[in-house]
């Protein structure tokens, strides 16, 4: 009896191990991708990271289109046409008629209004910044009303959005994945929108057909899609946490596109830039990696110290040594590719001797300046080496930057206290407007960044700039603000904008990376063979 039981148990174990899922149908175009981590939710209201589903399953009012020369344009998506009032406060949108969600429900102005309201009211919501600019948003946020007064629905396909204050960059903001339009009926009828595939209803080119946590998720073509039909019939995104495994998968033909971001630069140089040189598709993470310096710190409050730090760091050396030279040195915060980028900004020159002289002139003894240089250990090996090199560069001019490592949770917690002395951070643009970065770090509403930028006049200018209706005038003001922040106040050390390289396999004919270099790209921009 015991023997029989053992045999039965063993058979059950092996049968459960041998379960094999269905393979691809004949002639089906399947795009196989890999991601280092799983998504936590498919609801964009609850995440500021997991944008693959929002990008490919939902649509927005406007999109950013990458031109063949690499430049970007904002183009209407769900919007047929629109107008802006003379005071720059009210936007009237006429929606494309005939758009349906994947469940067949028509996409109407009510859904758009509900999308804004939901961003402000959904429990645990963290993607509400853009919706919060609408007149009456604060009352809705505070629970004083259940209606967003600033949005008026003028019919099934027309609505007006009135902002609390003019913002000439608002159309650009509406391209953000946060503004993905959801189906009101579905959201109101399901318990947890974005947690089950069947409930994740959008109007985009794909639907989510399967999500096996920490293993993979699958997208299938949306048969009700209103736009141009994407080339890939099916998309399988496998969760492969080890970059080396992804590398082997690509080389053995199990992946059609590999994101080279997580791979060691030595592998990129020795394998991809040689064997697969013709298959590399370059893009940029449009944004900037920078060293942040807390102006509440005893030493970093002195502009001479901050300027000396700017002069001490060999930025080209960092890019060459740790990222294979794949990137662009940035002198400002409005990085290359961002609307309003200034090529003529006063450059930061690597001059350690000049930095030493500046510190001596300011009355500092070598070794006197000391601060903690806080590292988020989840940033990977290259980031750790960047920290070490910066600390070494600073040590050569007599500044003691003491690296202290935290795990991500502790690091975020510390930075939020506004007491983190210095760190290296990267900001990738959510939408293509300088306000995205300048307002985040240098406005009166900036908080939790441990920067404590002290120039009140500049912060007021940042707040006022968004109301300038004339685009040329607005960009000129942003450039002047950038000069004040980086050159006059030496508030940060802009380091570089990193390239974001992908490599395509034999099944892919062409691929256009996301305009800002997100790993969560648009699959509709992939053409299969």
């Amino acid at each position: 009896m015991r023997k029989h039981l053992a045999v039965l148990l063993a058979a059950a174990l092996f049968l459960s191990l041998a379960a094999v899922p269905a393979s691809a149908a004949e002639g089906e175009k399947v795009l196989r991708l890999a991601s280092e981590s799983d998504i936590l939710t498919m609801d964009v209201a609850l995440t500021t990271d997991d944008y693959f589903i929002p990008h490919n399953v939902f649509d927005r009012l406007f999109e950013i289109k990458v031109q063949p020369d690499g430049s970007t344009d904002i183009v209407p998506s769900l919007v047929e046409d629109y107008s802006v009032s003379e005071d720059g406060l009210t936007y009237t949108f006429r929606l494309v008629e005939g758009v349906t969600f994947s469940n067949g429900n028509p996409l109407t102005a009510e859904d758009v209004k509900y999308t804004f309201e939901r961003l402000l009211t959904v429990p645990g919501g963290c993607n509400y910044d853009i919706a919060q600019e609408v007149d009456g948003a604060d009352a809705l946020l505070n629970g004083e009303t259940d209606d967003l007064a600033g949005i008026t629905v003028n019919g099934d396909y027309e609505l007006s959005v009135t902002l609390a204050a003019p913002n000439a960059g608002y159309i650009a903001e509406l391209t953000s994945p946060a503004m993905s339009v959801v189906d009101k009926e579905t959201c109101q009828s399901v318990a947890a929108f974005g947690m089950e595939c069947a409930d994740t209803i959008g109007s985009g080119p794909y639907v989510v057909s399967e999500w096996v946590p920490n293993d993979h998720f699958t997208l299938e073509r949306n048969e009700n899609y209103w736009g141009q039909v994407p080339d890939a019939d099916r998309v399988i995104m496998s969760v492969v946490p080890d970059p080396n495994t992804q590398n082997l998968m690509f080389q053995s033909g199990e992946l059609d596109i590999i994101d080279l971001d997580a791979l060691d630069s030595s592998i990129i140089d020795s394998v991809y830039k040689t064997t697969y040189a013709d298959s590399i598709v370059p893009g940029y993470r449009v944004g900037v990696t920078f060293m942040s310096m807390n102006e509440n710190n005893e030493y970093l409050s002195d502009v001479n110290v901050r300027r000396a730090i700017q002069m001490s760091i060999d930025r080209q050396g960092l890019l060459d040594n740790f990222y294979g030279g794949d990137g662009i040195i940035e002198n400002g915060m409005i990085a290359t590719g961002v609307w309003g980028h200034n090529d003529d900004l006063t450059p930061i020159v690597y001059d350690p001797e000049g930095a030493k002289a500046l510190l001596a002139e300011a009355g500092y003894e070598p070794g006197e300046i000391s601060f903690e240089f806080s590292l988020d250990s989840s940033g990977g090996a290259a980031t750790q080496m960047v920290y070490q090199q910066i600390a070494q560069d600073l040590a050569e001019v007599g500044i003691d930057a003491q690296i202290r490592s935290y795990d991500e949770s502790a690091w975020l917690d510390f930075r939020r206290t506004e007491e983190m002395p210095a760190f290296v951070g990267t900001w990738t643009m959510d939408y293509n407007d300088p306000a995205n970065i300048l307002a985040t770090f240098f406005s009166n509403s900036t908080s939790g960044r441990s920067l404590n930028y002290a120039d009140q006049a500049v912060k007021d200018r940042v707040d006022a700039a968004s109301a300038i209706i004339d685009d040329d005038e607005r960009m000129a003001e942003y450039q002047a603000i950038e000069e004040a922040i980086v050159v006059e106040d030496a508030a940060v050390v802009p380091l570089y904008e990193r390239a974001h390289l992908f490599c395509i396999g034999e099944n892919v004919a062409s691929f256009v990376p996301h305009w800002a270099g997100f790993s969560n790209f648009f699959v509709r921009d992939v053409e299969m063979k």
Binding site: V20, P21, G124, C126, M195, T245, L412, R416
Partner: protein, 310 residues
């Protein structure tokens, strides 16, 4: 009957161990800096939203209240809700745990079968080539880190020879072969060395000479007489190895992209997801306790005197 009583006694005595483990994990996570909600919501989290979510999840209550709520929930089968995944912990464990159990079972199979065989052959061929090869094999298993073994196996047998899949679980049994070998080899080494030394000791005993004088061959004497006696300390080591297999699973699961409890634990630690981590730890502790219980039962099978004594 006495064996049954002994098992029951062990099960009851494991309850305070379980509570102790949960308390220690809980306190460690409380001491560590970091906030689950902030980590989950990232840079855009508003103070009011963080406060509201903290209240909803009971994170604003004193630690002892939270601990009591958790412990009393455990007895009713409620392991809490994952802060990060917004799902009941029991639901998540039901998805992830079978993968780790399959991996650990296969790794244990590799470790114990290969380890005992290797140890027995080495003992029988003491100081001969087979002994040297066996001990070399076991030394390699003990010395080489699991991640290195995993990467080499993956490169050779999955990438180069294409005998096994590179990663994932979609190929069923084949998906688990390389991870199980990578994970089990190190334990196989320890088992082999221990089996060899205890077997050599037992083989010098009088009852082996008696068996040989009755006409048993060397291998027969080892298989039917010596091995049974030599295995008692080996079984102890095998029971202890269950916990090391579980911890080693974290690395193999990452390299071979297996969605198991190891990766879930790492996620839970980095995200300060206390309910999820506690749930995983409780499960792992139960498994280790169960492993020790099985070992106890095996003792009495291998040597009936042990059961009678207890």
């Amino acid at each position: 009957m006495s064996t049954l009583k002994s098992i029951l006694r062990r099960v009851l005595s494991s309850i305070p161990v379980l509570i102790g483990v949960v308390l220690v994990i809980y306190l460690i996570l409380r001491i560590l800096p970091g906030n689950a909600i902030l980590t989950m919501m990232g840079e855009h989290a508003r103070e009011e939203v963080v406060a509201q979510l903290s209240a909803e999840l009971g994170l604003d209550k004193p630690w002892y209240v939270q601990f009591w709520v958790y412990i009393s929930g455990l007895f009713t089968g409620d392991m809490g809700t994952s802060i990060k995944y917004h799902k009941p912990v029991s639901e998540l464990l039901a998805v992830y745990f079978p993968v780790t159990v399959k991996l650990s079972c296969l790794a244990a199979l590799v470790a114990w079968v290969i380890g005992i065989l290797c140890g027995a052959v080495s003992a029988m061929r003491k100081d001969k080539l087979a002994d040297r090869l066996g001990m070399g094999f076991s030394l390699l298993g003990i010395s080489v880190p699991v991640f290195m073994t995993a990467m080499v196996l993956q490169y050779l047998f999955a990438y180069k020879l294409k005998w096994f899949p590179l990663q994932g679980t979609k190929d069923g049994l084949a998906s688990y072969v390389l991870p199980a070998i990578a994970l089990g080899w190190s334990s196989a080494g320890s088992v082999a060395r221990l089996t060899r030394s205890t077997l050599l000791e037992v083989m010098g005993a009088d009852f082996i000479d008696t068996a040989r004088s009755k006409g048993r061959s060397v291998s027969g004497a080892v298989a039917f007489h010596a091995l049974r006696n030599a295995l008692i300390p080996v079984v102890t080591v095998m029971a202890i190895q269950i916990s090391s297999l579980l911890s080693g699973a974290v690395i193999t699961e990452t390299i071979f992209s297996l969605p198991g409890i190891g990766r879930l634990c790492i996620d839970a630690i980095s995200g300060r997801d206390i309910p999820l981590l506690q749930g995983s730890v409780v499960f792992a502790t139960v498994l280790v306790i169960a492993g020790n219980l099985v070992a106890d039962c095996l003792y009495s099978v291998l040597d009936p005197r042990i059961g009678k004594e207890s």
